[in-house]
Symmetry: none
Subunit: 197 residues, 4 copies
Amino acid sequence: MPRIGMEPVRRKALIDAAIAAIGARGSLDVTMSEIAGIAGVSPALAHHYFGAKDDLLQATMRHLLSEFGRDGRDALAGAKTPRDRISAIIAISFSQTQFQPETIAAWLAFYVEAQRSPAMRRLLKVYARRLNSNLMSGLGPLMERSRAERVAEGVAAMIDGLYIRRALKEGAPNAASAIALVENYVETMLAAGDAAP
Amino acid sequence: MPRIGMEPVRRKALIDAAIAAIGARGSLDVTMSEIAGIAGVSPALAHHYFGAKDDLLQATMRHLLSEFGRDGRDALAGAKTPRDRISAIIAISFSQTQFQPETIAAWLAFYVEAQRSPAMRRLLKVYARRLNSNLMSGLGPLMERSRAERVAEGVAAMIDGLYIRRALKEGAPNAASAIALVENYVETMLAAGDAAP
Amino acid sequence: MPRIGMEPVRRKALIDAAIAAIGARGSLDVTMSEIAGIAGVSPALAHHYFGAKDDLLQATMRHLLSEFGRDGRDALAGAKTPRDRISAIIAISFSQTQFQPETIAAWLAFYVEAQRSPAMRRLLKVYARRLNSNLMSGLGPLMERSRAERVAEGVAAMIDGLYIRRALKEGAPNAASAIALVENYVETMLAAGDAAP
Amino acid sequence: MPRIGMEPVRRKALIDAAIAAIGARGSLDVTMSEIAGIAGVSPALAHHYFGAKDDLLQATMRHLLSEFGRDGRDALAGAKTPRDRISAIIAISFSQTQFQPETIAAWLAFYVEAQRSPAMRRLLKVYARRLNSNLMSGLGPLMERSRAERVAEGVAAMIDGLYIRRALKEGAPNAASAIALVENYVETMLAAGDAAP
DNA sequence: AATGAATGAGCCTTCATTCAT
DNA sequence: AATGAATGAAGGCTCATTCAT
């Protein structure tokens, strides 16, 4: 029973299905049929709305990115001090929306794909730049610029590292300990402000 | 002209070819023909020696692992103090053997595969445990046990994060700055020894 | 805004679009969406008016045929002598309306289709018969019947051959030289009237 | 039971199957499965030996071309006088090898494809050039050069036209009457040598 | 009158894998 | 020891066609 105005509904459903499928498989090695099946539509329809598989995958990545961006903006909005901003960024990186097995797997898969696909790499760079600028908005006022840059890089690396290492753990992701680790890094770096680079 | 004792030669050649192929593709999405072609043999021979593709891939991973292990032992052998041990571990993580586009891509690909394949996950855990115990052999004597554990986790995450983020950078990997970042983390943690957390 | 009496307009537009699409592609291998797109309507509408794709194609062929017939009648109307009739038929075969890349491609494509589809073959036979009778109306009075038949067949073959061979030439079709070749054939046959075969 | 040295056998079988399939369908619109099926192998094998469908089709065309070339050389070898050469060329154009429903259909289909595919067009031009030079080797000595050129073009057009018009006839191709028609054209042109262009 | 929504069927192509030699 | 031959299975994608609105 075709109703009108289904396009946005289907697009959303297919992107969600893609995330679910990628999460379940743990890689981008999912079939269009699989994704379409999860979304409850035929593979042909997925092609109808997204063209090729790559396009759907990129749209999925873009969706993850925009969610991450929205979460970031929301978190930053409630943060008063620069220090608060840092914590807010760290917190949302491991929030329940982001730090979930499915989403983690999807991010990881996209990282791999980025090595091959320039389009994916471009998208991932957007994420990296955004994370960096968010972190710098907190770290900048608290220490010398070049040092802030380095700490931001360290925080970002640690976050991504914790994401990737989730693959090795059993059970549900432990966001709290991940957050504590990064916070401790930041805290120590702030405390050692007088000292070295 | 079949010669005797070719098995080890072929196995080595095929594993090297697998690393090369994975490195070039940037993912495990390589064909047996591709690998065999690089090794200069027929795909049938690859099956003859390794059974299935997954077996070859696991053997490849195991090879990477043992190389990493050997590098680690070598590095540790020359380190006198605990502090030296830490630096040695960090150094070899970014050594020219390890921190190369091809090897990085392979590691990353295996991380992804680990999410699906228990066998791969097991192998990757071996790596994680080994890295951890190596780090602990340096950090243990220098700070309280539980804190050392956490710092080791932080170092490991940072290393893996720097690996993964290589995918976003252009040009050759910059090992020096990566090492500096991790060393600085360790240094600051050691300096803040009296304090938290 | 549905208007009444749109049917003939749409049918005409779709048939023109089909010719354009076939001409552009150089074969009948065009999609309904393509044709509908050129006509500025939805593929569903094309089905609504024509049933199946084959029906639209046949209608297109019929349109070409009726155009050819009309051109022929017009040309014959102005021809006084039998000899004039022959020249008129040859001329319209290579007139600007007929001897155009698009139309040529369409004719050729239909010839191929005729091998498979009896309906198409029937239509094409109508064309052949019409061309033959037109030619005979000129050749008949000028030579013995059986010889006229053969010359008509030769002229028809030459015309179709020149059409098909257009596919091999670059640039715009050269109608003049094509006409000259056929006219020369006719002329020589008329001159050799007394002789063979 | 795989034996060695099958490649040439399979290639031949697949090309023959392609001709058969195209002949049966009357167009290039045949599937790889169909062709492979006729050849008695799997579709995968067809791809194994020919790469893509287009490559198999081109190889098929090239085969037809080389057969035509071989037939032409053979025919020309036995012709003593220029006049004999002309007749020989005409004869082989309608020989039992060439003027068969299947081969005719294949030629026609390739003509259509040539409008789209530059590679096919190139191949077809080879055929046209060869036919032209063959004809000129007979017509050249018998009349003025520019006139010979035109007669050669006329003969070629008539031959191709008779091929295409086969699609309209029922029953087996009538080679004899086709040959007679072309021969008569040549004869008349030769007889009218003194006269017009 | 017209279309967006949706799909089944089918095709090309790739690839891991097997087997006889 | 090594490979050419061969295929089954599966995936991406296209397209004519239908249907409710």
